[in-house]
């Protein structure tokens, strides 16, 4: 028989770690994760599974003669007997580290910690049962119509518990779900993509997604070869989401202040206060946004230029990064906010919303009706930074570039490689539709919660042609 390895609850684990700690401060982050997923290709299952994992991070803080140091040690599958060595390792790491550049006083408790006592929330394959049945029907239909379906559906539940030596006790349950379906013609020449994010799969309508796919594949029955060049282009919400997420993770206050990013001001400092677009666009994050709810407190287990372990447990609220076209805030730690004397340095939040105010209710199709001759982009892929000075990004169009003529989609166009900066794009957007919850195609491994409108850019730079289909 296996020797007994006592598994503690996350709450008991945190209390035990805090009792064991002999450092000047201690913060504990415990994460319980469960996941169910299914993946398919060529109208058949490829991989599937149900996984559980556990993570415990101990952040020790040591006040030394020359400043405050932190050490982070993280483990999965921690049992009762593992805790003491783990705490000592974190303390040793803090002593080895020397003064931390991002040191701040540990966060003090504020208000209640709802649900602290409750066990972790869990998901399982059963969450996907209804979806799998509908997918089976869609595959039957696809087979009958000589179409191929490829894709992935996933539901993840993460329960995060934070406790600290200052008395913070916080808990958050984060459901994250997504589905992506790629439909192709039997000869693989035509390809279309649809995706959706969800909290519980109750709102996923496979039949509706499949209808969407069929319409796009039908559009592609006529194909049009176009050369590289600048085109009047409608970007679907998922496409603009992907380039704006790149902008968001590049919006570091410290790097901007140091002269190292597109948000650095000529002559020194950052560009907060600069107008980035003439349209009254707002780019914001809000932990309470309906359908995009994310943790109301900050929890990370490492420090870098975007965030700090000293900020764990800090309440986070709605933040405008760009308000009415003007750069309003940049991302960073409390330490950098204080060091730079800048209150507009805000913690990163795990959702992103772009809207143009209340005067637009138009969909992508409505906007297409106003285009004389232009392109409609479904989604972008393999987006990478070419030049950090202007945040020039490159990438490819994927699974659906359509030609619009006199307000109607008249065919599918070859793919292109684009070279564009999202900062530049914001300034050139000429029209914006209604913002709605959308799954970013490229970034959804890390970032699923966005609300974006379709946008129109009169001169989108399609740099070269890609033969990919």
């Amino acid at each position: 028989m296996t020797a007994a390895r006592q598994v503690l609850t996350p709450q008991d684990t945190i209390e035990r770690v805090l009792e064991l700690s002999t450092a000047d401060g201690c913060v504990v982050v415990s994460e319980e994760r469960s996941e169910a997923n299914v993946r398919w290709a060529n109208n058949t299952l490829t991989t599937n599974g149900e996984m559980r994992s556990r993570k415990l991070a101990v952040i020790s803080v040591v006040d030394g003669a020359t400043g405050t140091a932190s050490g982070v040690v993280e483990r999965s599958a921690v049992t009762a007997e593992d805790l003491e060595p783990l705490v000592r390792a974190a303390e040793q790491a803090a002593r080895d580290a020397g003064p931390a550049d991002d040191a701040s006083p540990l966060v003090q408790p504020s208000g209640d910690s709802p649900g602290w006592e409750a066990p972790p929330a869990v998901t399982s394959t059963e969450t996907l049962a209804g979806f799998a049945a509908s997918l089976g029907q869609a595959m039957d239909a696809a087979r009958a119509q000589q179409r191929l379906l490829f894709g992935f559906a996933e539901h993840v539940m993460t329960s995060t518990y934070v406790g600290s030596s200052t008395g913070v006790r916080l808990r958050n349950d984060q459901p994250t779900g997504k589905v992506e379906i790629n439909g192709k013609s039997a000869d693989l020449k035509r390809s279309a993509w649809v995706g959706a994010s969800t909290r519980d799969f109750g709102d996923i309508d496979v039949a509706a997604l499949d209808t969407d796919l069929q319409q796009r594949l039908a559009w592609a029955e006529r194909s049009v070869e176009l050369p590289a060049g600048r085109y009047d282009t409608l970007l679907a919400p998922t496409a603009i989401a992907d380039v704006l997420i790149y902008l968001y993770i590049s919006a570091t206050a410290r790097a901007a202040d140091e002269g190292r990013t597109v948000f650095s001001r000529q002559g020194g400092g950052n560009r907060i206060g600069d107008r980035l677009c003439e349209l009254p666009l707002s780019l914001r994050s809000d932990p309470a946004a309906a359908g995009l709810q994310t943790s109301p407190f900050f929890a990370v287990t490492s420090s870098n230029e975007l965030w700090s372990v000293f900020d764990v447990g800090m309440p986070v609220g709605a933040t405008d990064w760009i308000r009415d076209g003007v750069l309003t805030s940049l991302v960073g730690s409390r330490a950098w906010a204080q060091r730079s004397g800048n209150e507009a340095v805000k913690p990163m939040i795990d959702n992103l919303i772009l809207d143009a105010g209340s005067d637009s209710s138009r969909s992508l199709a409505d906007m297409a009706a106003g285009v004389e001759r232009g392109l409609m982009l479904t989604c972008l892929w393999y987006i990478r930074e070419v030049d950090p000075q202007n945040l020039l990004l490159t990438g490819l169009t994927r699974d659906g570039v359509y030609l619009i003529e006199d307000g109607e989609v008249t065919g599918a166009v070859n793919n292109f490689r684009f070279n564009e900066s999202p900062v530049d794009l914001l300034g050139r957007i000429s029209d914006v539709g209604a913002s709605s919850i959308t799954l970013p195609r490229e970034w959804n491994d890390f970032f699923t919660r966005t609300s974006m409108p379709p946008v129109r850019v009169p001169d989108f730079n399609m740099s070269t042609v890609s033969q990919a289909s």
């Binding site: 599974g49 149900e50 994992s53 991070a57 790491a93 580290a97 190292r260 900066s421």
Partner: protein, 501 residues
Amino acid sequence: MRELDPIFLALPMRELAATALQRARELGVDHADFRLERIRAQDISLRDAKLEGARTGEQLGFAVRVVHEGTWGFAAGVDLTTDEAARVAGRAVEVAKASAPVNSERIELAAEPTYGDVTWISAYDVDPFSVPDAEKIALLTDYSERLTASDGVDHVSAALQQVLENKFYADTAGTMTTQQRVRLMADFTAVAVDAAHGGFETMRTVAPPVGRGWEYLTGTGWDWNAELAQLPELLVEKTKAPSVEAGSHDLVIEPSNLFLTIHESIGHATELDRALGYEAAYAGTSFATFDQLGTLRYGSQVMNVTGDRTAEHGLATIGYDDEGVAGQQWDLVSDGVLVGYQLDRRMAHMKGLGRSNGCAFADSPGHIPLQRMANVSLQPAPGGPSTEELIGAVDRGLYVVGDKSWSIDMQRYNFQFTAQRFYKIEKGRLAGQVRDAAYQATTTDFWRSMEAVGGPETYLLAGAFNCGKAQPGQTAAVSHGCPSTLFRGVNILNARTEAGR
């Protein structure tokens, strides 16, 4: 000298494997495998020679994968008890049953000899987890300070990643492997800021990530002293360099840059799962479709590419893969023609290719093994030219050093790469750096334009830690060796012009 970590060996993996495989057998599986992994990782970053962040992590868990009535099932757990091992095995079978209605392909695996109870350890000298953090941080601080102390350097970023990976694998056929490998990646980036004019430039070390231990940071396998000493001067030269003239140029590309082009345009394109469409919705497919095996003219006659899981210090090197297949080397492209793919056991059987070449890999205990990239390497020409001789053969062109930005389409046709340094070549000689360059091509056009590959003395095994594939996303480290090479007539873009400036 090198031995399997006794703390890992003390974990109850044999009992858990026996319980899980027995439970799976009782439930009537065709095949079952059990994998227990512990992955230790430490990331340290410094900014301007001060510690920015340090995190030491450890993942531990196990998974059971089954083929039940011709359908895959997979489940993973973290509690190392026999009860949990039996539960997870049961869940894997449940998952297979639940998935059967959407499975239309009967899963069978290519035969592989059984190896009994075997061990394997990668080639390294010093386990990085045996070195005190204070010593590591002191070395990174010293290396960073050499840069911050230099004229023209305003900021310095340093990053170090270290991994110790232990895998235990057992299957119903009787193979049982216990393995250990170490890898390490370090880089230093110097930044020059021109605050008055609002610009900045960077220059990063090109030392590749390697399957070596801490000794790599102290001089074994790379001359850090030399590279750090040159970096500030190279950066200053770049800040003063003229912008590149867009258009067609001949290129001499160093391994420190070409490895990534190989990764994207050959490594991924010769993955059979991509060619068969399994990654169509995510990582993408491949222009090198299966019907072209043996006929596709991939590149010029001098192009010979191998896949391997055996190169010493290679990041994808291992004794046995995550399906119990022993490491091998094989041909992917011979004399410019596509002759092979990277395989796992399911695809090898399905396509009648015989034995798998051992490319199954899962990046963590909770993830499903899938076909991941081997070390994919371009072979040098015996007695081939030196880098200087290749440069000497160019009248007007660019010499390309160090990887930077990369992007390629989902069928691996159209790519665009930048570099740490582009040097102008004029009449066979280097004529200083240029800025803002990117090279862009279609894969087969590019490899067919390769006129010459350098000799073995120009060969370098470079690589990357961050190759992404699959859903749920998995990350793998992989090496690519290559010599210096000469390409004719490649399209060069000017990034400033592309940005509309």
